[in-house]
Amino acid sequence: MSAETERHAREDILGTLRRGLAAAPLIVPSPPARPAPEPITPDPWAKLAEVLTPLSVPLRLAGNPAEAAALVADIARERKATSYTRWGESLDGLGIDEALSGLTRAEAAPCRDLSKIDLGIALAHGVLVESGTMVLAAGPGRHRAASLLPPSSIILAPRKALLEDVGKLPELLAKLTAGGRAPACVNLISGPSSTADIELVLVRGVHGPASLTIVGLDWDF
């Protein structure tokens, strides 16, 4: 369609909207203040685990980098993974590669090159405890495919990333944008890939990972 036709459509649509609202203004009453979120203290991990359990998402806690790496290796073994891909720089200091030394690591790459990888490892920038949601901001070295293509997914959740609920999302997204451009992709992940499209029977892993495990990083990561 020509640029001229599109410009015409734009002017028409905006004009009709403006005329309609001028003729019959839409007055919207102020909504009530957003209710204060349920507190997640004193034990936010327990709250998170309670929400994740019905989603079939185990939460495992690590008190230091060595424990985190060991947990990742345990999960890889349980999932019989022979290959993995992980986010780069942000996870470099944890010793994951050493813990997974028997597995083949695939670097961030286009989807086709990661299609046969067994395990993906990524990091949450925020965790909305009330809904068990991991917020992941993609970027260079933080590929979207890591939490999507492999059949098994591990998301590392730092203690300082724990937030009450979706009401904290605007603030978190503003932080992720601070000082520059917004991330091109932010994924909110609340459980494994699932469908109930045939006779309402729940099946995990229809397109994304069938298994998701959260490793809580219970120190100042």
Binding site: R181, C185, V206, H207
Partner: protein, 462 residues
Amino acid sequence: MEVNTQNFRSLAERASANKRLRGVLDHATRHFQRCRQASMDALPHREEYFARARAARFNALAHLPELLEELEKNATALGTKVHWAHDAAEARDIVTGIAKAANAKVIVKGKSMITEEIALNPALEAMGAEVWETDLGEFIVQLAGEPPSHIIAPALHKSREDVVKLFAEKLNLHGEAIPELTMLARHALREKFLTADMGITGANMAVASTGSVVLVENEGNIRMSTTCPRVHVAIMSIEKVVADFEAVADILRVLPRSTTGQRMSSYVSVLTGPRLEGETDGAQETHIVILDNGRSRVLGDPELRQTLACVRCGACLNVCPVYQTIGGHAYGWIYPGPIGALLSTLLLPEDKTRDLPYGCTLCGACHRTCPLSINHPQALLTLRAREKGGSILGRAHSLLARHPHAYRAAVGTARAVDPQLDLLPRLPGLSGLTGFVEARRPPELKKSFTARRRSAAKKERS
């Protein structure tokens, strides 16, 4: 898809006689209602959250032209190409133009009502592209050559046995159990995602303040469609824009709960422009197509514009006794249930939707269930009044109905010559009366209670 709304009456009659369909609908709608109720019961401050979601949507409608301009400005600044379309034909032209320019041979689609509304697939196929619906339910109905039958569960009407047969016939894939069938679809579609040149999705919301598109799903097919192909096209109708992420948060609080009873859907993607330098996945070219298709006119109508606030959670379908009886296909187009009867009537030509506003018992269950308090019955009554107000019979009936004495006199006269009111409509020149009389129950010939009381009192006195 073909518009068949003009046959709503006959389709509804046929569907309501289908016992198997009614069994499926009963099971499914009860399931969705149970999930939703449990989730809502567990949500503290529910009314406040509903009010906030409602305000987010209605504020967006109140500032729609400014928000669309802001969305365009911010999305364009980050490298997304924004397009505008008056109607379905223009939107199809835009998307096929993008596909041609990208030399797209394989196209994957996320579940989207808007692409059904503009009948996009045949247009893309006509230019030689392979188009794959990737939501499992949509994939099933695509293979069956049928339209979706529920806003959030497109293949609701299909049994496991239907899917077994379909996969064997169309894909030569053989499975029996539901998890096995699901995995067959996963493998078949995974290959398509990896070879696709272009991904097409709708948009649950578009955020004016950042130029982002927000997509909500459970399967991951939308993430695949926006992560693997090099081009992503998001098609949105004008009303999908919201001001900012405060509004997104307020809507996300109630949308998944009202849809499936989840606190949050498995995946919510916030996409803002093409991938950044150094990223290895995500679309390198991004487009947003803003479609009107009659909605801008609806915004100027104070009685009907509430329809545009809908977030497509589908909860109104599940509680509707009409939908529970006839299912989605009987509505004759892509939008079923109370919201479908409204949207179709507002978006399609008048002569095709005359009966849709009558597909409602006015029980009000949809209004009570809608997280945004859309008053579907009130809006449907408005449409009825307008439709009937347009015909001579309707205007005459309306005039008489407002004057009870005149009404009684007219019906009394008619009854005097034709006691069953079955002969008059057959007279030459009065054929329009048949449908009119069939759809109404004129008052019986006996006197009103007050008149009978008065006459009894008079009798007593005398």
